[in-house]
């Protein structure tokens, strides 16, 4: 039976009946990193240094060194990233069970609300309305919050900083608890820098998505793109982080399989 479904999948992929959508931004030096106060430790932005390019450093080949923080570009948050998940088993990128890294996606379209209010918070009521239209969020699903934030190609608009910090949408504290406790989701994904809202430090608790999601051993995906190409339900995403020893997260390529 399982073998049959893979054969079918292969045929559907080859026949274009299942499309593959790339939910990943290009890793580039210009991609905005997370901004913390300067006295805090800083995540390295993505940097690329040529090793050789068919030249005197290596006449026949081209390659680069690159460097970046674990939480750079489109990236994965492991449970150990947050203090609430620090003692959980399998909480780092090298130990995360690989079957958790492929699963169904529910896409919650908040793009209109986010365009109207950069500080928009996704609420339980909003989720319940979504479920009323698209059905209950299944167990072990990835919930992806579509805000169209990835369409902000100007880094100033993407970061959206002012003197009170960042203004980007995210889930409310109650919504995260609902997803973790009532729906048993596998993880939460956003188009912004952070699974939490820009002003989430003022929520209770601060950064609730990080706090509850990782405290329950669940995962985060950030800086996603192309969520507008996914159906509300029916897509499957594939999101394995690099297998780095005791990694708290990792840049990764996120793919979605989409019917049709």
């Amino acid at each position: 039976m399982a073998a049959d479904s893979l054969v079918l999948l292969a045929a559907d992929l080859a026949g274009g009946r299942v499309r593959v959508v790339d939910l990943t931004h290009t890793l580039s030096p210009d991609f905005p990193p997370i901004v913390l106060p300067p006295e805090c430790g800083q995540s390295w932005p993505f940097r690329q240094e040529e090793i050789s390019r068919y030249d005197d450093r290596g006449s026949g080949w081209y390659w680069n060194n690159f460097s970046c923080g674990e939480h750079t570009g489109t990236h994965f948050d492991a449970p150990a990233h947050w203090i609430s998940g620090r003692d959980l088993p399998n909480g780092t990128t090298d130990t995360v069970p690989v079957q958790n890294l492929i699963g169904p996606a529910c896409v919650i379209d908040c793009s209109a609300e986010s365009a109207a209010d950069a500080d928009f918070l996704l609420t339980v009521e909003f989720l319940e309305r979504w479920e009323a239209r698209h059905g209950r969020i299944p167990t072990r699903a990835w919930v992806l919050m579509r805000t169209d934030w990835s369409k902000r190609t100007d880094p100033v608009a993407y970061q959206n900083l002012d003197e009170t910090g960042q203004h980007t949408p995210g889930p409310s504290s109650e919504a995260v608890r609902f997803l973790v406790q009532e729906r048993d989701v596998m993880g939460f994904g956003t188009e912004t820098i952070g699974t939490d809202a820009g002003q989430a430090i003022h929520l209770k608790p601060p950064h609730p998505c990080h706090y509850y999601m990782h405290g329950a051993g669940r995962y985060g995906l950030q800086c996603l793109t192309n969520l507008d190409q996914l159906p509300p339900t029916g897509a499957i995403i594939i999101c394995p982080p690099l297998k780095m020893l005791k990694g708290s997260g990792s840049p990764l390529r996120v793919l979605a399989l989409v019917p049709g």
């Binding site: 030096p29 210009d30 905005p32 901004v35 300067p38 430790g41 800083q42 932005p45 940097r47 690329q48 240094e49 040529e50 880094p155 100033v156 993407y158 970061q159 900083l161 002012d162």
Partner: protein
């Protein structure tokens, strides 16, 4: 008075850019003392400690009593111009291209007869002059005869301009426009007559009111430049590198940690990435084009300024990793100086004491205001000096360091 230097005509793009040829740069070891003093803006000659006889040309033993105890001492430079000439035809390509070139023979009141480059406002012989020392395009100390009294447009003398890096009508890149120092530099150098100032901006999503105000000035253009990003430096060099006449690298990261006050290497690494590797990336990106344009007309490429720190000389332990990154930058700047020397591009190192900014907030005064630092940089360009120690703290550290670096280390680590 000296004829004022007027805006050079636009370059004819069809003609080949003149290659830089340095004047004769070979010197004996003894003569390098003159260069070392000139690099700090001083005119010094050897004086015999035994018989007080002033020596010139530089030598290994007193020409009078043969004592080897010759000390470099500052001179007032007053003397009598015995004879002057305009050299119209020289064996040296550098001077051939710049003929006629005026030189003079001066009997210093201190004793020796010296040959000098002669300022156009001097003379004719016989007359009183005042001799000073400058660095020439070979980076070596040379003597210049100045009129005793200041005259109008003194700095505009054609020959003197070969020894200095006057910003007048030049195009300047300031690598970081977000700091108060960067903004003060831009305003000061515009006031000094710079034609165009590119101001570097990293992390454009971080707003800076000062930079926005600066960008309203007609001479200012903002250019994306992040010294930690090789591709950003390459791109900036590719777009403006062929036009930069003066590069002022003021980008720096200053974190106020020693070793144990901060675990890990992230802060130190960031300091190194900007303060040291940033300089390396800039030098690789902008160095070649600037070298190639060092003789490009009367206002061609001329100087490279590094904002270092007095802590580069000796580590200030509370800012230990910052000090180390500036020491690394100092060392690298010496390599840059060597590579630039053949072209005549002057590498100027600025060693301020604590700047009055947020990272030095806990330190007691005196602290150097951004405007004062900017002024000292522009003065260094105009005077053509190589090492600048602006402010009281820097001057005091320098004096201590010159007297005994090991004692200074003890004082700082007490």
């Amino acid at each position: 008075m000296t004829a004022p230097f007027t805006r050079p005509k636009r370059k004819n793009p069809v003609l080949r850019t003149r290659l830089p040829l340095p004047p004769p740069g070979a010197r004996s070891r003894a003569a390098l003392g003159l260069s070392a003093a000139a690099a700090m803006g001083k005119f010094k000659l050897q004086v015999c400690e035994a018989c007080r006889c002033v020596q010139y040309p530089p030598r290994e033993a007193c020409g009078s009593c043969l004592s080897p105890r010759l000390r470099w001492r500052e001179q007032d430079g007053f003397g009598e111009l015995l004879a002057d000439t305009q050299v119209h035809l020289s064996q040296e390509p550098y001077f051939r291209e710049r003929a006629p070139w005026r030189i003079g023979m001066v009997r210093l009141d201190a004793g020796p007869t010296v040959i000098v480059h002669l300022h156009s406002a001097c003379g004719p012989a016989p007359c009183r002059v005042r001799v000073g020392a400058r660095l020439d395009k070979a980076g070596q100390g040379v003597l210049i005869g100045f009129p005793v009294d200041e005259v109008a447009n003194m700095a505009d003398d054609r020959q003197l301009r070969e020894m200095t890096c006057d910003p007048k009508f030049r195009k300047v890149l300031i690598t970081d426009g977000k700091t108060a120092v960067g903004q003060a530099l831009a305003r000061t150098i515009i006031a000094a007559g710079a034609d165009l100032v590119w101001v570097g901006q990293a992390e454009p999503w971080k707003r800076s009111a000062g930079l926005e105000a600066l960008s309203a000035l007609p001479q200012v253009a903002i250019v994306p430049l992040d010294l930690t990003d090789s591709s950003s430096v390459v791109e900036a060099a590719g777009s403006i590198g062929g036009r930069v006449d003066i590069l002022i690298n003021n980008a720096e990261v200053h974190r106020t940690y020693g070793i144990s006050a901060r675990n890990g290497t992230d802060a130190a690494r960031l300091e190194m990435d900007v303060n040291y590797f940033g300089l390396l990336r800039l030098a690789q990106g902008f160095g070649p084009a600037m070298r190639g344009r060092a003789a490009d007309g009367a206002a061609g490429a001329t100087a490279w300024v590094n904002l270092l720190s007095i802590y580069a000389l000796s580590n200030f332990p509370p800012h230990g990793t910052f000090s180390a990154s500036k020491a690394a930058a100092l060392s690298l700047s010496q390599a840059l100086r060597a590579e630039m020397r053949g072209s005549g591009i002057r590498v100027i190192n600025v060693f301020p004491g604590p700047i009055d900014d947020e990272w030095n907030q806990p330190l007691p005064p005196p602290k150097l205001a951004a405007e004062a630092l900017a002024k000292s940089v522009v003065s260094a360009l105009k005077d053509g000096v190589e090492d600048v120690y602006p402010g009281d703290v820097a001057q005091e550290w320098l004096a201590r360091w010159e007297e005994n670096p090991k004692v200074l280390e003890r004082e700082l680590t007490a």
